[in-house]
C-alpha cells in the first residue's frame, strides 16, 4: 500500500486502470443494448409486416340484393336443380340497366362479382319455405373475393386489364352498386364463424380453430398425466442406477428429435398399424402428445428438483411415507413450475405443422369437425393450405390467420406467466 | 504435553494469572521469613518494613481476583481451566491471609524487641517458624510444578506444626507462670506462635485446593490434626 505522501505515480497508474475498466464496462453495456436493439428490430419488422398484410382481411364487404324467385326458373319439386347464381346475376344486370349479350357473358361477369353463398342462401330459404317461389326475398352475402379486394383498393385500374381478374366494366358496375347503397363494409366476422372454403370470401377459421382445440385437448389429456406421473416416478421413487440414468439421457434426446419424425411414427403406428382415422384430431393429438411428452417430463422434473429437500425431510420426520411426502408436500409446491411447463409445451404443440402434414391433415376439410374421429385441420395447417391457394384474396387471409395463431400463443404464454405468479410460493 | 489453546490469548491470560499467584506466593513467603527473622533478631526496622509491605500483597490479591472474574465471564473456562481459575482465586485468598499473619507477627515483634530477650523461647519460636516457612515453600513449589506428591506430603504433616505449637504453648505457659514479669512479652509470643500455626493451616489448605485443581478430586480422608492441649 503506497501512501499519498509518496510520488503520485502509483495513484495515476491506478486511476488509468480504473478508467480502462469503466470503458470496458461501457463497451459491454453498449454491446448488450445493440444486441437487444437488433432482436427488437427484427421482431418489429416481422410483426409490422404481418399485421400490415393481415389487417385488411378483418374487414370485408357485403351486398344486399332483393331477389325475385322466378317461378319459371325454380321448380318447387326440384329446388336443388335451379341455377340460383345465374338467376341472381341476371337480376343484377337488370338492376344495373345492362343488356345481356347472346352468349350471356355479361351475366357471367355479373356472377363473378357475387359469392355463390347468395344462391346458397336462397336455396336454404326455399327449402325451409317453398311458398317463397314467386316472391321477392332480400339476401345479404359477401361480395366475391376480387370485388372485395377492389373495394379495399388492393385491386385497381393501375394494373393492366389483362393481368387482372376483373375488367374495367366490372369495376364500373361495382362502383354503381356501391353508389346505390347496396354494398356495405363491415368487420369480417365470417373469418371466425365460417370454416374453410374454396371461395376466399367465404373462407373462415372456425373449422381450424375447433380442430386445433379438439386436438390440443387430446394432447393435453394424454401428455400431461402420463408426463407428470413419469417425472414424479423418475425423480422421487426410482432407484438411482445405470438404467434410470440411461432413461434420463434418452428422454432428453427425445425432446430434440425433429417433429416430422413423430409424424412418420404416427403414420406408421397409429394409421397403418392400429388403423386410426387419418386427419382426425385423435390421431393428431396422439402424435403431438408423444412429441410434447419429453418436454413435459423435463419441465416437471426440474420443478420437482427445485423443491428444497428440507421439505421432504420435514415430512418424512413427521412419519409420512415417501408417497405421502411427495403427494402432500412436494407436488403442490412444484405445481406452478409444472403448470408453466405444460402450458408452454401445449403452446408449442399448437403451432406444430410438420407431423400433422405427415398424418394427412393437409387435405381440404370443409365444415367443422364433429368429433374426435372426424376429419379436421388445424390452424398452422390451414395457414399452409391458404398460402398455397391460387386466389389473390387468400394472401391477406393467410396473414390474418397467422395473426390469429400468434394471438393464441400470446394468450397461452400470458396465462402461463399469470398462473406462475399467482401460485408461486416462498419457502 | 497438553496442547495450547487455539485462541492463544486465552492461554496467555491463564498463564498470567498463574504467574501472579506464584508472585503472590513468593511475596508471602518472604514476608513470613522476614517476620520470623525480625522477631528473632529483634530488628525493629525490619518489622516496620514487613508491616508496610503487606499493602502490596493486598493489592496483588485484589488484582488476581479481578483477573479471575474476568476470565470466568469472558472466556467461560471448562474442566481443568475452570479448576485452575477457581483454585487461583482461593489460593490467593489464603496467601493474603498468610501475609496478614506475617504482618501480625511483625507488629508484635516490635514491642517485644524493646523488652527483655527470651532466648530459649525465641529459639523454639524460630524452629517452628522455619518449619512453617519450609512447609509453605514446599506447597507453593509443588503447586507451581503440578507435583501431587509434594502436596500430599504437606497435607499429611500438618500435625507436625500443631505439635510444635503445642510444645511452644506449654513452654510459654511454664515460663510465664515462673516469672510474672514476662507475661506481657509471653502473651505477644503466644499470639505470634498462634499466627505461625495459622500459616501452617493455610499451607495445608493450599495443598487441598491445589490437589483438586490438578487431579479434579478431593483428598480422601480427614486432615490429620494434633489434639489441642488442655489445661
Amino acid at each position: 500500500m503506497t501512501d499519498a505522501a509518496s510520488t503520485g505515480r502509483p495513484r495515476e497508474a491506478a486511476e488509468k486502470r480504473l478508467q480502462k475498466r469503466y470503458a470496458a464496462e461501457r463497451r459491454f453495456r453498449a454491446y448488450g443494448l445493440l444486441a437487444i436493439a437488433f432482436a427488437v428490430a427484427f421482431l418489429g419488422v416481422l410483426l409490422t409486416s404481418i399485421v400490415a398484410q393481415g389487417a385488411p382481411a378483418f374487414w370485408t364487404h357485403s351486398v344486399t340484393l332483393p331477389v325475385y324467385v322466378d317461378p319459371q326458373r325454380v321448380d318447387a319439386r326440384d329446388l336443388q336443380g335451379a341455377n340460383y347464381d345465374m338467376m341472381i346475376a341476371d337480376q343484377l344486370l337488370a338492376r344495373l340497366d345492362v343488356e345481356n349479350d347472346e352468349l350471356g357473358e355479361n351475366s357471367l361477369k355479373a356472377k363473378d362479382l357475387l359469392s355463390p353463398d347468395m344462391g346458397y342462401q336462397v336455396l336454404e330459404m326455399l327449402k325451409r319455405n317453398p311458398s317463397l317461389i314467386g316472391r321477392t326475398v332480400s339476401v345479404t352475402a359477401p361480395v366475391a373475393g376480387n370485388a372485395d379486394l377492389y373495394y379495399k383498393g388492393e385491386l385497381g385500374r393501375e394494373i393492366a386489364e389483362s393481368d387482372r381478374k376483373l375488367d374495367d366494366q366490372q369495376f364500373d358496375w361495382l362502383d354503381r352498386m356501391k353508389a346505390d347503397g347496396l354494398v356495405e363494409g363491415h368487420f369480417n366476422w365470417g373469418l371466425f364463424t365460417r370454416s374453410d372454403s374454396t371461395q376466399p370470401e367465404l373462407a373462415g377459421l372456425l373449422g381450424a380453430i375447433v380442430g386445433s382445440a379438439l386436438m390440443l385437448l387430446v394432447t393435453a389429456l394424454v401428455a400431461v398425466p402420463v408426463g407428470v406421473a413419469a417425472a414424479v416416478y423418475l425423480e422421487e421413487f426410482a432407484p438411482k442406477n445405470r438404467w434410470t440414468g440411461m432413461i434420463e439421457v434418452n428422454i432428453n434426446n427425445l425432446a430434440a428429435v425433429p417433429s416430422i419424425v413423430y409424424g412418420l411414427l404416427g403414420l406408421a403406428v397409429f394409421i397403418n398399424w392400429l388403423g386410426f382415422p387419418r386427419s382426425a384430431p385423435v390421431t393428431g393429438g396422439l402424435v403431438l402428445a408423444l412429441m410434447a411428452l419429453p418436454t413435459v417430463i423435463i419441465a416437471t422434473r426440474s420443478a420437482l428438483k427445485a423443491v428444497p429437500p428440507s421439505i421432504r425431510e420435514g415430512a418424512l420426520a413427521v412419519g409420512a411415507s415417501r408417497t405421502q411426502a411427495v403427494f402432500h408436500h412436494v407436488l403442490p409446491l412444484a405445481m406452478p413450475g409444472i403448470m408453466t411447463g405444460t402450458i408452454i409445451s401445449m403452446a408449442h404443440a399448437l403451432g406444430e405443422t410438420a407431423p400433422l402434414l405427415m398424418i394427412g391433415m393437409v387435405s381440404f376439410v370443409p365444415g367443422v369437425p364433429e368429433g374426435f374421429t372426424s376429419g379436421a385441420t388445424v390452424l398452422p395447417v390451414e395457414i399452409f393450405i391458404w398460402e398455397n391457394a391460387a386466389e389473390r384474396a387468400f394472401h391477406e387471409r393467410t396473414a390474418a390467420a397467422i395473426i390469429v395463431l400468434l394471438g393464441f400463443m400470446i394468450v397461452m404464454n400470458a396465462a402461463a406467466i399469470l398462473l406462475r405468479r399467482r401460485f408461486e410460493r416462498r419457502w | 504435553m497438553a496442547h495450547q489453546h487455539i485462541v492463544s490469548s486465552f492461554g496467555e491470560e491463564l498463564d498470567q494469572l498463574a504467574a501472579e499467584v506464584v508472585q503472590l506466593g513468593g511475596l508471602a513467603e518472604s514476608q513470613v521469613a522476614d517476620a520470623i527473622t525480625a522477631a528473632v533478631k529483634r530488628d525493629v526496622a525490619l518489622c516496620r518494613q514487613v508491616v508496610e509491605r503487606d499493602a502490596r500483597l493486598d493489592d496483588l490479591q485484589a488484582d488476581i481476583e479481578k483477573k479471575a472474574l474476568r476470565l470466568i465471564a469472558l472466556r467461560q473456562p471448562m474442566a481443568a481451566d475452570l479448576r485452575r481459575v477457581v483454585a487461583a482465586l482461593k489460593i490467593s485468598l489464603s496467601l493474603e491471609r498468610v501475609g496478614d499473619m506475617a504482618k501480625g507477627i511483625a507488629k508484635r515483634a516490635g514491642p517485644m524487641a524493646e523488652a527483655e530477650p527470651m532466648t530459649t523461647l525465641a529459639r523454639s519460636f524460630e524452629r517452628m517458624g522455619r518449619l512453617v516457612q519450609a512447609r509453605l515453600k514446599e506447597v507453593l513449589d509443588a503447586y507451581s510444578r503440578n507435583e501431587v506428591d509434594g502436596l500430599l506430603n504437606v497435607w499429611r504433616h500438618d500435625d507436625e506444626i500443631d505439635d510444635h505449637y503445642d510444645s511452644l504453648f506449654r513452654e510459654l505457659l511454664t515460663y510465664m507462670m515462673g516469672d510474672p514479669r514476662t507475661i506481657g512479652t509471653g502473651a505477644h509470643l503466644l499470639f505470634m506462635a498462634k499466627n505461625l500455626e495459622r500459616i501452617g493451616d493455610h499451607a495445608t489448605n493450599i495443598a487441598e485446593i491445589a490437589h483438586y485443581d490438578i487431579t479434579g478430586e478431593t483428598i480422601e480422608g480427614e486432615r490429620p490434626k494434633g489434639e489441642p492441649t488442655g489445661n
Partner: protein
C-alpha cells in the same frame, strides 16, 4: 412396543443409570414436574456396536451409547465427527440416503429399530426430529401441526383435531403468540417461532423421543434461550437427544453428554463430570478449546 406407541408410554423399569456426580439426589421414581437437576429416567435407547457406512467410507466405528428417558443427552464433537450421522440412526433417516448402510443394534424399549422388519414410517411417528434450519411446511400454522396427526389418524373429528393442535402449540410455548392467526402461513413467523412450530409439529404426533440436530444454530440468542427453556420442560416427558456445536449449550441443557471424535465415541457421562473433570485427554482438549 409399536402396537401401543400412540396411546401410552413404555413401563418404567427401576434400574437407573449410575450417576457419578456426587451432588445428585437419587430419586426412586422420577415423576412429572420433578425437577431434581441431574436425576434421569431409565435407559430409553441403547446403541450397541453401531457402524455406519456411506458407500465405502465408514462414518461411525463401533459406537456404544445409552440414552436415558426424561433427560437430555447432548452429542458434541468437532465437524465431521459423526454425531449427526449417529443422531439420524435413531429415526432411520439414513435410510433415505442412497448408499448409506447402518449396522449394529439400536434398542428402543428393548426392540431393535435397526431391524429390517421395522417400518421406518411408524418409527418416525414415535421418534420426532427437529432440524438445523427451521423447515415448516409452506402451509398454514394449523395445517403444519395438524398434518402429522391427520396422516396417523390421531383425531377423529374437526374439534378433536383443533384440540390436538392447540395442545401441541401450548406445550411448545407458541400458542399465545399464534392463537389469533392459525391460518396464516407457517413461513410468516420469525426464525425462533418457526423452530417452535416445528417442535409443536413433532410433539403433535405424541412421540416418545425427540431428536434435535443443532436446533438453535440459526437463531438469535433470545430465541435460543426460549428453546432451551422449552427443552427443560419437555425433557420431563420425553427422551431428548440433541446434537450441538455449542459446548456452552450442551453444558446448559443436557444431563448427559457424549463426545464424538473422528467417528468414534470417545467419552460419555454426566454433563457436570464431562465439563469439570473429563477422563479422556481428547475430550479435555476439545472442551477447553485446545484441539491441535
Amino acid at each position: 412396543m409399536f402396537g401401543k406407541i400412540f396411546r401410552q408410554g413404555p413401563d418404567m423399569e427401576s434400574t437407573t443409570i449410575p450417576d457419578q456426580s456426587p451432588n445428585t439426589v437419587e430419586a426412586p421414581r422420577p415423576t412429572l414436574g420433578d425437577d431434581t437437576g441431574g436425576s434421569v429416567g431409565t435407559t430409553k435407547i441403547s446403541a450397541r456396536d453401531v457402524n455406519v457406512f456411506y458407500g465405502d467410507k465408514q462414518a461411525l466405528f463401533g459406537v456404544n451409547l445409552e440414552m436415558a428417558d426424561r433427560a437430555v443427552t447432548a452429542l458434541i464433537g468437532p465437524s465431521g465427527c459423526g454425531k449427526s450421522t449417529f443422531l439420524r440412526c435413531m429415526n432411520r433417516m439414513n435410510d433415505t440416503i442412497p448408499g448409506a448402510r447402518v449396522e449394529g443394534t439400536i434398542l428402543m424399549d428393548g426392540e431393535n429399530i435397526n431391524d429390517r422388519r421395522i417400518d421406518p414410517v411408524l418409527l418416525r411417528a414415535n421418534v420426532g426430529m427437529v432440524f438445523q434450519k427451521p423447515n415448516p411446511f409452506p402451509k398454514s400454522i394449523f395445517e403444519n401441526v395438524a398434518y402429522g396427526p391427520r396422516i396417523h389418524g390421531l383425531a377423529s373429528s374437526k374439534s378433536e383435531m383443533e384440540g390436538v393442535v392447540e395442545n401441541a402449540l401450548k406445550r411448545a410455548g407458541l400458542w399465545a403468540e399464534v392463537a389469533d392467526r392459525l391460518h396464516h402461513p407457517g413461513t410468516s413467523l420469525s426464525g425462533g417461532q418457526q423452530q417452535r412450530l416445528v417442535i409443536a409439529r413433532a410433539i403433535a404426533v405424541e412421540p416418545e423421543v425427540i431428536l434435535m440436530d443443532e436446533p438453535c444454530s440459526a437463531l438469535d440468542p433470545i430465541a435460543t434461550a426460549k428453546i432451551e427453556d422449552l427443552m427443560d420442560e419437555l425433557r420431563q416427558q420425553f427422551c431428548i437427544v440433541i446434537v450441538t456445536h455449542s459446548m456452552a449449550q450442551a453444558a446448559r441443557v443436557s444431563q448427559r453428554t457424549a463426545f464424538f471424535h473422528l467417528g468414534r465415541l470417545v467419552e460419555d457421562g454426566p454433563t457436570e463430570q464431562i465439563f469439570t473433570n473429563p477422563r479422556d485427554t481428547r475430550t479435555h482438549d476439545y472442551i477447553t478449546g485446545r484441539f491441535g
